[in-house]
């Protein structure tokens, strides 16, 4: 029988691709200026370009593969995934003019819970700062190339998604989920 996390990742991938080809991204992207209730749920499936979609699909598959390799439970994986996805919603209040789309914060959340599970092999004291620095490093490099600091806003979302996943790990331990 196929692993539940693999099935979940495949289902999310299918929905992402379907939403990308069936509806324009701006109709589901979440923004305060053009707020619609269904966007609260659907923004995570919307993508603005093929490259945006492709990168998130690759990230999702790799994170799911890591979680499967580490025997992360489906319940924990989904908890961290959706916590990572929805942490973007309150953060949007910081950027009233912006529109967000994509599920990378959710993937970073799922990555955080997988890395906690890997702590017997590599400590989260190494992996958590490594991922955070990596998020910032890539963004700073991109900004230098573009000549201005453009990517920092998405970093705030990504780091929040990753922190939400780490927080999910802690709450699972405390609440015995």
């Amino acid at each position: 029988m196929a692993n539940k996390i693999a099935l979940f990742a495949a289902a999310v991938a299918v929905v992402n691709v379907a939403v990308f080809y069936l509806a324009p991204a701006e109709s589901f992207s979440l923004s305060l200026s053009d707020f619609q209730l269904q966007d609260l749920l659907l923004f995570q499936f919307a993508h603005f370009s093929v490259f945006h979609l492709f990168e998130n699909l690759v990230g999702l598959m790799l994170t799911a593969a890591l979680a499967i390799e580490l025997d992360v439970s489906m319940k924990k994986f989904m908890f961290a995934y959706f916590l990572g996805a929805f942490v973007s919603v309150p953060l949007l209040l910081m950027f009233p003019g912006a529109a967000i789309a994509g599920n990378s914060t959710a993937i970073f959340g799922a990555l955080a819970i997988s890395l906690d599970r890997a702590k017997g092999m590599i400590s989260y004291k190494i992996t958590y700062p490594m991922v955070t620095l990596f998020i910032l490093g890539v963004s700073i490099a991109t900004s230098f190339e573009a000549g201005q600091l453009i990517a920092v806003r998405s970093d705030i979302f990504h780091i929040a998604g990753f922190a939400a996943g780490a927080g999910a790990t802690l709450s699972i331990k405390e609440l015995h989920i």
Binding site: F48, N56, G59, E69, A98, S154, G161
Partner: protein, 54 residues
């Protein structure tokens, strides 16, 4: 299309990025290697145990 959207909206792309994918791949490979080492150690332990007749 993308340019048009970017012009009309202030978009924040929630994008995992190829860098993130590279990092996740490295971690995945590391975990697989550690698991293989662990499996190898268990097999060796069982072989020794068997040889000692325990």
């Amino acid at each position: 299309m993308m340019g048009l959207i970017m012009q009309n909206m202030d978009v924040v792309l929630l994008e995992f990025g190829l860098g993130g994918a590279l990092l996740a791949s490295i971690i995945l490979l590391f975990v697989r290697r550690e698991k293989a080492k662990l499996r190898h150690s268990v097999l060796r332990y069982e072989r020794i145990k068997k040889a000692l007749g325990e």
